[in-house]
């Protein structure tokens, strides 16, 4: 007990004694304020659960997600050994959901890596350098923003070919412009602040100022925005799957599962509803997490 007490005191000190200590203490204080937000903790809990389920899919899944049993098609909920029933080819829906978590995480992870980083790069360079660079980059952003998102993604997938990688690429290419706009707006306010003037007076170059001084301040609002957008990304991926342009059968992608279940939605509603509920839950979890992160990461909150 006293051990944990001293560790806590060590982390909460106002007088850190080393670089590592200062970093850990800042992280711990962020965690404390995040932990006090119940809804955000629920969101985090659901997502941690999702990651665990995806990692342990072979152990957790009661059946092979690809094994067909045409004699037992469209079994209802809670039927023998099929908790969520079976789909039109007699495949166990629960197992497909569990394996589908992997695909969902894969899509979400890749898009979350590509789109914000591209947006951050374009936005901060545009905002800091200004002049004609700003004009060119922002007009390109406008062109991407002018297209409806799903239509543009459809065009990309049509050009690149259907498949999960291309769906990720298409979603990323349509998702970056809002991040670029946010990053640019933040950069414009940061650029004129005294601490940027101060580092300019030390002879720092544009590259150092953008990467070391502007990025750390933009990243927090981007992370928040990404988590809030995650729901949209999952839905876009599901939408592409639904249209048959994302994950290809027999891959258990949640959107594709809904699309398949749509044909029997009146008589066998659970085939489409169960994956729909899964998408809803994960989207909600990301939204809750995003709300909580905004409270922790907002740089003005630290003042």
């Amino acid at each position: 007990m006293s051990q944990t007490q001293t560790l806590r005191a060590w982390l909460l000190t106002d007088t850190p004694t080393s670089r590592r200590h200062a970093k850990l203490s800042a992280i711990y204080q962020g965690w404390l304020s995040f932990r006090s937000n119940t809804m955000a903790m629920i969101g985090l809990g659901i997502l941690v659960l999702l990651v665990l389920v995806a990692a342990a899919a072979p152990i957790l899944a009661p059946h092979d997600p690809f094994a067909q049993d045409l004699g037992n098609r469209l079994a209802p909920l809670w039927s023998d050994s099929h908790v969520f029933g079976t789909d039109s080819l007699g495949r166990d829906i629960l197992s497909r959901l569990i394996y589908g978590a992997r695909i969902t995480l894969y899509i979400v992870g890749l898009v979350a890596l590509i789109a914000p980083i591209l947006g951050l790069l374009v936005g901060t360079v545009s905002g800091y350098v200004g002049g004609w660079v700003d004009v060119v980059l922002m007009r390109i952003t406008d062109i991407f923003l002018a297209f409806p998102r799903l239509v543009l993604a459809l065009a990309f997938v049509a050009a690149l070919g259907a498949g999960i990688e291309n769906a990720v690429l298409a979603i990323s290419l349509t998702a970056w412009p809002p991040y670029a706009r946010i990053a640019r707006a933040e950069t414009l306010t940061i650029r004129s602040s005294d601490y940027i003037s101060a580092i300019q007076l030390q002879g720092a170059g544009a590259l150092r100022i953008i990467t070391k001084h502007i990025w750390p301040l933009c990243i927090s609002s981007l992370i928040v925005r990404v988590t809030l957008d995650m729901a949209g990304i999952i839905l876009a991926a599901a939408g592409l799957g639904f249209l048959g342009l994302g994950a290809q059968p027999p891959s258990p992608e949640w959107g594709a599962m809904i699309s398949e279940g749509r044909r029997f939605i009146l008589d066998h509603w659970w085939v489409a509803t169960v994956p729909g509920l899964a998408i809803f839950t994960v989207s909600l979890a990301f939204n809750l997490l995003g709300d909580g992160l905004r409270d922790v990461l907002d740089p003005k909150a630290g003042e």
Binding site: T15, Y195, L201, G203, L217, P299, G302, E303
Partner: protein, 246 residues
């Protein structure tokens, strides 16, 4: 020898119809080791002169000489080893996500120093902050402590000319005196030359040897502090300013 010579300096913002002339034909010089004050009301162009010297206000004409060398519009890195600036608001001049150690360490790194750890320790001692402040973030510091960090940052490259942009106006009165005494001590210790902007005549009277009074972007009078204390201002505006501050 003059540390700083300014001749016919004009600074403006915007172009054509939106153009605002912030400084018009400013001319003065500051001898080495001297402390020179710029006083005047808000918007009279005091701070703009400092920003033009450092290059933060890029649109200027006229001549600026630092230590006998003419300053070009594009400043060489060595310029920043000679001239440094302390900003007005210590709440805005420190990066909110960088610890004191990072702020000073990066500055030293940029100026090519090798023994960064030792120098950070020494800088903190110089400005009267102990080692316990080294790894704190700005939000863990008071206004006076932040301004000490900003002063340490300005001293890091070992400059000879320090530009002070109302360094105490954002602080409360008791802390103001501490910072002013610190600045006076540092000047004596390091043989610094100060160019100090203030709207507070008593601060200038305490800190400076000579001063210039500015109004609407023009210098209306340059006088000694002795003249200031003897209330011997010649120009009607400076006389008005003096009487108002008594």
């Amino acid at each position: 020898m003059n540390m700083l010579e300014i001749n016919g300096l004009n600074v403006w913002f915007g172009t054509a119809r939106d153009r605002v002339d912030a400084v018009k034909g400013a001319t003065f010089d500051v001898a080495k080791g001297q402390s020179f004050g710029l006083v005047g009301e808000s918007g009279s162009g005091k701070s703009t002169i400092l920003r033009a010297i450092t290059g933060l206000a890029p649109t200027w004409s006229g001549s600026i000489k630092v230590a006998g060398e003419t300053v070009e519009h594009k400043r060489h890195k060595s310029f920043f080893k000679t001239v440094q600036m302390v900003f007005q608001d210590p709440y805005a001049s420190l990066h909110p996500r960088h610890s004191v150690d990072q702020v000073l360490g990066e500055t030293l790194h940029l100026h090519g120093f090798k023994d960064i750890d030792n120098r950070v320790v020494k800088l903190l001692d110089d400005v009267g902050l102990g080692q316990k402040f080294r790894f704190r973030y700005p939000h863990q510091l008071s206004g006076g402590q932040r301004q000490r960090v900003a002063i340490a940052r300005a001293l890091a490259p070992e400059p000879t000319l320090l530009l002070l942009d109302e360094p105490t106006s954002a602080l409360d009165v008791s802390v103001q005196a501490e910072i002013l005494n610190l600045l006076a001590d540092l000047r004596a210790e390091h043989g610094l030359t100060y160019l100090m902007v203030s709207h507070d005549l008593s601060v200038v009277g305490h800190m400076c040897d000579r001063l210039a009074v500015m109004k609407d972007g023009e210098i209306v009078e340059i006088m000694d502090v002795a003249a200031l204390q003897g209330m011997q201002a010649k120009h009607p505006y400076s006389r008005q300013l003096l009487e108002a501050s008594v």
